[in-house]
Symmetry: C2
Subunit: 374 residues, 2 copies
């Protein structure tokens, strides 16, 4: 295990660790919590890396089967399936019981837009089942871009050359029949990029059609419907040895093309890390996890909602995970692993982490030792 | 028929038409020729528009079945299949006999690079059969990007979300077996975007892999292999009512992403209209057509290679067809139709054509009347 701190300075210059007694007075457990990035930290593709299974097991009580000892969650910019399904997948791969509330994906904050768009006609795109994700959040009139594009003959000029399709067979959103009957004159009120787009050319074309037309392809309008991205990762660590282009790269491609064919520049909102709101939200969820753990008789939270002394963000991407934790400020402590996007010996220059380690197992070992909770 | 000239000026301010006698002295036929754009002028998708069939028939001798009266060719930025095959397709759709030499596609000038890359390992991408096109030009070691990508597991991180509608036929180029046996350490010496890319996301990813690595994905290099585009059309008129994004839009998307992940800006070369070389090449081919027509006993070309008094470019895209003809200068005369990308009543502001008409039929009627050749 090789720890490497933000700067080659004595350990005494680190933010001083809290005395172990501080936690014991709150509960037997912790007033700290952990947020794990997934791709490049816990998994590469669908395979565990960095002894992530063993590391996660250390956060559970051996005595009470499956009960959480340390509150933790996954804070990923990925997505494409509902949090409930992702929790099952992760439980299966990692061999511990992950709750849906422990999974915060790039698109999870889209829930906060429910009031505005609950009954509006919206389009969702990205790998997996973007429309199902949005339906589960409560959006009542969402269609996937796959389905939306299928309403318009010849909208994709190279469709005939595709020997593949992104369409899920007969898995249209619940509301699609109604919309098809109403014709295609339904104005798109907002577009959501839920997960990494699969068919970039078709998506850029159809998004330009929707966004330059005010919501009805073929019409002309200056009013651009709002466009939301679940994240803005330029690159991420997938199964291929070198980084792959992510949603941020798609955003750059869309924006550069849109701004060449339309006078008014593209307007958009990006959620996901490094947005500080994502870290505030994670803090709230970790608080709930701690409270529900306490309610099960595992300790005494004291009056009011718990306030964490330290929250650890473990990630592989300086521009996303570390920048995000730094911008969020107290109580976040950033740990950068060398198992994904970042591979250098020395700390990252622009966004130095509080600590650099090789693997997530090293990170968890450091935290438990520092918190006297192993 | 509504003619509209470059400026709202009297006809007398037009470049004065040559007297009909000028042509009769060269041959019974013409010292003028015509270059037709295809998409938005002759066809929309696969359907003839603007009475293109009737217009083209006027360029043939009725007396001699199928013999050309007026030298003409198609000058398109499109492509994806060999010129011989495109000539057969066009003959079938348009009901006249089109020779392969009458078809100049965006990628046709790639032939001029044969000396440099004939025996080099090159990658070709785009709709249709980019590797077959390049093989027919004589390139001996070309593979399609489809095939190249298939050598690398997980190179496309969203491949699993693409549902193949047809079995991926083993449509490998003649040399692929050899290359597969040699492994993937073969350095890519150049990349050719032959026609409109189909799978933008995968292509941008793999092109970034090749071009940032010096030709071997995963390696690091400052030397970018040369990248050639057959054309640079931002948009073009296909079957959909409004314009579709073309190769130029793909170029913008690739360039903007590449320049964000790589310090040295992307270097590339674009062929196709409006490149003046394309118009020079068209002039040469039209000269050959006239000569071979003359050789068949249809006139006397006089000594040396024929020199045209006027060459007409009929196109729908001011930024491509009209700009190109203007930049090429004498003997080009530009005619803009309102049947494709351009739809305005008045002439284009930035690149005003010598003449604006509604359809290709109007354009041909104007030319034949002006040349006294109807």
């Amino acid at each position: 295990m090789r720890f490497r701190f933000k700067q080659p300075v004595p350990l005494s210059l680190l933010r001083p660790p809290l005395p172990a007694s501080a936690f014991r007075s709150l509960s037997q457990h912790s007033s700290f919590g952990i947020a794990f990035d997934i791709d490049g930290v816990i998994l590469r593709g669908a395979n565990p890396i960095g002894n992530s299974q063993r590391a996660l097991r250390r956060l559970y009580n051996d005595s009470v089967a499956g009960s959480l000892k340390i509150p933790f969650l996954f804070l990923t910019n990925g997505g494409g399936i509902p949090e409930s399904r992702r929790a099952l997948e992760l439980s299966d791969i990692l061999g511990v019981k992950i709750l849906p509330s422990q999974v915060v994906q790039g698109h999870s904050p889209f829930k906060t837009l429910l009031k505005r768009y609950e009954n509006e006609f919206i389009v969702a795109t990205g790998k997996g089942e973007p429309d199902v994700v949005m339906s589960e959040y409560g959006f009542k009139r969402v269609v996937s871009l796959d389905e939306y594009a299928s309403y318009f003959s010849n909208i994709d000029p190279v469709a005939q050359y595709k020997r593949w399709t992104t369409r899920q067979e007969s898995k249209c959103s619940k509301n699609s029949d109604k919309i098809i009957h109403q014709g295609y004159s339904k104005k798109v009120k907002a577009v959501f990029v839920v997960s990494d787009p699969v068919d970039w050319g078709r998506d850029i074309q159809v998004l330009c059609d929707i966004l330059t037309s005010g919501g009805i392809p073929g019409e002309k309008s200056w009013h651009q419907p709002p466009l939301y991205f679940a994240a803005d990762d330029l690159q991420y660590q997938a199964a291929f040895p070198s980084e792959r282009l992510g949603m941020g790269a798609f955003r750059i491609a869309l924006e550069s093309v849109f701004n060449r064919i339309h006078e008014k520049p593209l307007e958009l909102t990006c959620f996901g890390k490094p947005n500080p709101l994502v870290f505030r939200n994670a803090e709230t969820i970790l608080g709930h996890l701690l409270q529900s753990d306490v309610r099960r008789g595992n300790g005494d939270p004291g009056p009011g909602s718990p306030s964490f002394k330290t929250l650890y963000m473990i990630g592989d991407n300086p521009l996303v995970d570390i920048k995000g934790a730094q911008q969020a400020g107290h109580p976040w402590f950033s740990i950068l692993t060398r198992s994904g996007v970042f591979r250098q010996r020395e700390n990252h220059t622009q966004y130095p982490a509080d600590l650099v380690v090789d693997t997530v197992e090293d990170a968890v070992a450091f935290i438990l030792k520092r918190e006297d909770a192993s």
